[in-house]
Point group: C2
């Protein structure tokens, strides 16, 4: 009872988020079960209906049912509403909490922070959500119109083409990864225009709202000299870019002699690049991923585990967590006491947070693998790992086992999607490591490690 | 060139260790290829001969050849010599480096350390090795004689029984896990006397020399009130005990309805307990482990990855690394700024070391899995993970794929056995985090994590 204010703040942040998500799941379930949502004659099991609602709110995209075969046009419109609730919801809340923390530090380190006071930081939660909604809707609408015009000839009416084009744009921007075609984007395997547009939308959704806001602010001002991109923007953008290139190169190398055999070089390059981008958190595919070798499966699992930027539509441990871990490792190996990057010093508490996030996330995945191996004895270990990291990274790629999961298995995957999306781990620790001052100190003693 | 003394010290510690091991491997290869070592008519490939030498020096026990079918009595005697080189070698060097670090801290924190100055800390390297050799030889000889008497009736001569009994004791104490019988200890599935003796020897080897030394010191003194067990001893013993119980309970639960079906309760208990103990780093088995379910395979892989105590005959990330990680996680979740355990405070640098060890080890296992999936396309992912963690934990349990590995695969496993044994990761970081003081400080800036 000694730090009630801290305790309340902490409790409230987690509470708001979890409460928002439970509410959003319930509301999504309601929307997706309205009369006229399902096509005539279609029956969906209760567990699968809940699963789809959780998957949609967490913009993961894993689903035991076929979207195109199940939903009417009205149903698809409802699904798009749910994707907005999921994508914009967490992007807003995530950014808001982040600004709260930043502001609190600002009180202590005001001098240093002055240089970083970008306009969007001053906004309240309402203005912030307004900005995010505006930005995302603009991106989705522009993307949707481009898609609509491009695919117009494939459909009988403009309305039908627009529904499909908009869904493609919404699914890509919110990184939901749902697709009206059961084969995801595989029909567009040779359509690089669609692929490039989709990849751009995926990156815009997954790079994190603060990055988009800073970039927009940068281009809207004449006095650019006084503007400094935040450390967060620099770290997450570099890490994001590195992961895209690294993933693409690795998939290219691993599959060139396997499933890519016989492809033209540009097909190999695009297939590798697209699935690397998609593994950030979109989950769309242009290729039958079950044909990938086991080595590629493990690689993509690792990429999905890392996930997207914080304050984005993506999940996983997040790019910054990986970046801090790598920076720590390099500094530690060099024997440096402080971690410097982009002329800034990383705070110790952030190193600790990255440690906690990686430990907990790793442990969670390990436990999930063991439990699913028990509940799904017929499914191979690497496919389960793929499904688990896909859920935690809210990615939604699958080796095709989602519909084969038992009810227990589906519940576990739902919980992982929830945790991956909320980033519960990180929010639990957002205020960690700073609340309790000890009243006494024991003497320090070294322990042999490793 | 600013910290030459530190740099030299650091370089030397790693150098001594790596140099010792390369020398030991070369010498072992020489010993295991002397005339009269192989049975007549036996041909062993060069790669398999090197593999066995590395496996023996690192007391891992993985081997692509059958020990009993390949070596003569003289060969088995040579193998025992190699196991001593491996087991006692690293135990001595590991303890010595640990004392070096402790002494250096002692200069700074002499007052606090006085209470902990146990006798063995004052010993030099020569006296230390003498103590360790004395202790290990005593344990092995007592164990060997007990085994010899017990199995006497199964052999024609006392000499033959003694060779077998001594080998069993040496293999258990050094946690080598080699066995003259191709089925390991499976013939003793119902012999609980052999199993209990073997488990005791395994634990004595894997608990860490400092623990044994402190216990002996404790019992050799009358003034026990002034003696305090070191934090290391307390942490490693508690963690070791917890892992034994946790592993046994989990194996029992996971296999009761699978491979243990139809067994009596005491058979289930002993089989579960024995393989939990063995996964610390011994690798001996009383049961066909390929019959375990995939869930148990992943569980045992995790246990082998953790490994044994530092300064012991075992490998892995070590018990203390796990303990510090768990303590950190609990403290962090509670928002405590310092980590207290057993009335002592854990140093921040040790938390950082545990982070570095876990990150690097995890990354190494991940990379090894991906590479082996490429080089061994026909072998299942979970069996490769099992083999990899078995090598890194110098455990030596296998799902039977060692002899099926390609040459590249064998080389990777050899490297992992080497790293697991030397604890290269930890030694690289032993002096890490303390050498370079920065000449300037950048302003600190927070980053969104996870
Ligand atoms: K997704
Ligand atoms: K072993």
């Amino acid at each position: 009872m000694k730090y009630p204010r801290e305790a309340i703040k902490r409790f409230t942040a987690v509470q708001i988020l979890v409460f928002y998500y439970f509410l959003a799941i319930a509301f999504s379930f309601f929307l997706l079960n309205l009369p006229g949502v399902y096509k005539p004659g279609i029956e969906v099991k209760f567990i699968d209906s809940v699963f789809t609602a959780v998957s949609a709110v967490s913009v993961t995209g894993l689903t035991p049912i076929s979207i195109g075969d199940t939903y009417t046009s009205f149903g698809i419109a409802m699904l798009m509403v749910v994707l907005q609730l999921g994508g914009i919801g967490v992007m807003s809340l995530g950014t808001f909490f982040w600004l709260m923390i930043k502001k609190r530090i600002g009180l202590r380190e005001r001098q240093l922070m002055m240089a970083d006071h970008n306009q969007y930081e001053l906004a309240g939660i309402v203005q912030l959500i307004r900005q995010i909604v505006q930005l995302i809707f603009t991106i989705e609408l522009v993307g949707g119109l481009i898609f609509t015009v491009y695919i117009l000839n494939d459909f009988e009416t403009f309305g039908e083409a627009f529904l499909n084009g908009l869904f493609m744009a919404v699914s890509a921007t919110t990184n939901a990864g749902f697709s009206l075609d059961n084969a995801s984007l595989q029909p567009y395997f040779n359509d690089y225009f669609i692929q490039i547009c989709t990849m751009i939308l995926i990156v815009l959704g997954a790079i994190g709202f603060p990055v988009l806001a800073e970039v927009r602010y940068y281009f809207s001002r004449n006095k650019r000299k006084n503007f400094r991109f935040s450390l967060f923007t620099k770290i997450t953008t570099v890490t994001f870019g590195f992961l895209l290139v690294f993933g693409a190169v690795m998939i290219f190398i691993l599959e060139s002699m396997n499933s890519f055999k016989g492809m033209a070089w540009h097909e190999k390059v695009f297939t590798a690049l697209f699935h690397s981008v998609s593994s950030r958190s979109a989950g769309l595919t242009t290729f039958d991923v079950t044909q990938f070798s086991n080595a590629t499966d493990i690689l993509i699992s690792s990429l999905m585990f890392i996930g997207a930027s914080p304050s984005s539509v993506g999940g996983g441990i997040r790019t910054t967590t990986l970046a801090i871990a790598v920076l720590f490792l390099i500094s530690f190996a060099r024997g440096q006491e402080v971690i410097h990057v982009f002329h800034r010093q990383i705070k110790i508490v952030d190193v600790f947070r990255s440690y906690a996030v990686i430990l907990l996330a790793g442990l969670m995945v390990l436990i999930a693998v063991v439990v699913l191996l028990v509940t799904e004895p017929t499914l191979p270990a690497h496919a389960l790992l793929f499904e688990i990291t896909s859920a935690f990274g809210t990615c939604g790629m699958s080796l095709g086992i989602t519909s084969e999961l038992s009810i227990t298995g589906k519940i576990i995957i739902m919980v992982l999607m929830f945790i991956g999306r909320v980033g519960l781990i990180s929010f639990l620790f957002t205020l960690g490591g700073r609340t309790q001052k000890p009243h006494y100190h024991y003497p320090k003693e070294r322990v042999i490690i490793g």
